[in-house]
């Protein structure tokens, strides 16, 4: 099978490296078949009907969501169980974060692990239907998951068949209310909450929406239990996690690490450029930092919170020493501004305005005082959209101004960037997908 995903975990034995979800990946150039999958992990354990087993195990494992929000998975499952009517399970494989590759890597290498997780979660919450949402732009990935689903049907595996859906791939289309809206026949745009999906989601039923990596961990907890899961990680953050390390590193790719591994150790796995000074943590909704300021911090919610950061979707982008962080931030902001659902005023008008301010700063062509204008705008956007798209974009822009403050002040006075003295980097660094056609939300 040919597909776009080529980078693989090099199977490193360095500090923090782990191989649970990624077990066997270094020897594979395609998806594991059901037979290979069982060879790696053994068959799923079947619980007798009506046992609360898995919910308690997931709670004891302290599994948290791996899609960016880090919410306790068991809490979400219990909320769905407590809802009215038979539940629905939705696996979120949209991965609209352009710098992240971990979800597509997981689905392309170990689709059965995710499907096991969907099946186990569906059993645990008593779901009557199950769905997996994938981006329409990644047809190779859709083929791969469809093949795995067909293989399981032939083997008579899943009591509840998993429906595979292809959604338009806008940045906000991976938001959970957007998935629900689309599955209910609407556009893949976020909706106003409440009601939240766990209360009233697909077909107005309580709906459990989990990131595909979260479900893969859940599949392993169902097999090996909570105690095993917590053998990796720390007290505060258990298990392992997938990260995507890109930018100025010699071995970019997807790395599985123990939760609690420091930022510096994760970067080391990928071989960072020694002179690199700045890193974007979390993704395009993430935050920029001096490498030195965060290198010793655990790449977890609690570890990064004092630095005003979070692991988000597990992205670490190393800014090349010769590149200008403001220029990269301006490009990301322009992209995020174009990727809103065009529903809420502060997002429709605020994000492009901030993107303009950043672009003026980055280009050293200020019109008035873009720095203080932007600071004022950055303060009034957060929390005012239906979804958190504007909040994430604003956080990224604010962190760029903080981290590249010296550059920002120099640019504001029409001086060239400090980075410009070290040589010019003209090539685009961070991937910025071409926006889809305006009307393509369905």
């Amino acid at each position: 099978m040919s597909h776009a995903y080529e980078r693989l975990t090099p199977g490193s034995r360095r500090a923090g490296a782990a191989a649970r979800l990624t077990l066997g990946w270094q020897h594979a150039d395609r998806a594991a078949t059901l037979r290979e999958h069982y060879g790696r992990f053994g068959p799923p354990r079947r619980e007798p009907d009506g046992t609360p087993g898995l919910l308690d195990e997931v709670a004891a494992a302290r599994l948290t969501g791996r899609g960016g929000a880090g919410f306790p998975t068991a809490t979400k499952m219990r909320a769905v169980v407590g809802g009215r009517g038979p539940a629905v399970v939705v696996a979120n494989g949209m991965e609209s974060e352009p710098a992240s590759e971990k979800d597509q890597a997981l689905l392309a290498r170990a689709p059965h692990l995710v499907l096991d997780g969907i099946s186990a979660a569906a059993e645990a919450v008593g779901a009557a239907e199950a769905h997996i949402c994938l981006p329409r732009t990644r047809d190779w990935l859709v083929d791969c998951v469809l093949a795995a689903v067909a293989e399981r049907q032939r083997a008579g595996l899943d009591r509840i068949p998993v429906a595979v859906h292809e959604l338009p791939h806008h940045y906000v289309s991976s938001e959970e209310t957007a998935l629900v809206h689309w599955l209910n026949g609407g556009e893949a745009k976020p909706t106003t909450t409440p009601p939240r999906p766990f209360e009233r989601g697909v077909g107005k039923r309580p709906t459990l929406i989990d990131n595909v990596e979260t479900l893969a961990h859940l599949a392993l907890i169902a097999r090996y239990g909570a105690a095993w899961f917590r053998e990796a990680g720390t007290r505060e953050a258990s298990g392992t996690m997938l990260t995507t390390v890109t930018g100025a590193v010699s071995r970019p790719g997807v790395y599985e690490v123990e939760a609690g591994t420091s930022v510096g150790d994760i970067l080391e796995l990928a071989g960072p450029q020694p002179a690199a000074e700045a890193v974007l943590l979390g993704g395009y909704f993430g935050t920029w930092h001096d490498v030195a300021a965060v290198a010793d911090r655990p790449f977890t919610d609690a570890g990064l919170r004092p630095a005003g950061a979070g692991p988000g979707a597990g992205v670490l982008f190393v800014l090349p020493a010769q590149a200008c962080g403001l220029t990269e931030a301006a490009r990301i902001m322009r992209y995020l501004a174009s990727q809103g659902a065009q529903q809420c005023g502060p997002c429709i008008f605020g994000l492009p305005a901030i993107a303009d301010d950043l672009a003026q700063l980055a280009a050293g062509r200020p019109d008035g005082d873009p720095l203080s204008r932007m600071q004022r705008r950055l303060g009034v956007i957060s929390g005012r959209g239906a979804c958190r798209h504007p909040d994430g974009a604003v956080r990224m822009a604010a962190s760029a101004v903080r981290t590249f403050g010296a550059d920002a002040h120099a640019h504001a006075r029409r001086r060239p960037c400090l980075s410009a003295h070290r040589g010019r980097q003209q090539t685009a660094l961070l991937p910025v997908p071409r926006p889809l056609a305006e009307g393509d939300w369905r």
């Binding site: 909706t191 989990d210 502060p346 959209g385």
Partner: protein, 84 residues
Amino acid sequence: MTLKLQLDPIACSGHGLCADLLPELIELDEWGFPMLADSVPPDLAAHARRAVNACPTLALRLARTRHELTTRHQGATRRRLRAG
């Protein structure tokens, strides 16, 4: 129990009538979209109701909430409940 203004940001199209009628609690940003104060003091309840009724898109709502359930908490819950 306390009164609180709530905005449906998707329904709001920035007519700005609410800020005209209730400048004590509602301010417009530079693009004309309302920014709301956290809670409505009892002496402004009648004015708040008038602002709610004046909204052409029915985007503004006056809700009774418990003290502990402020916008900030609701926002945090929503953020934490986002997929995954």
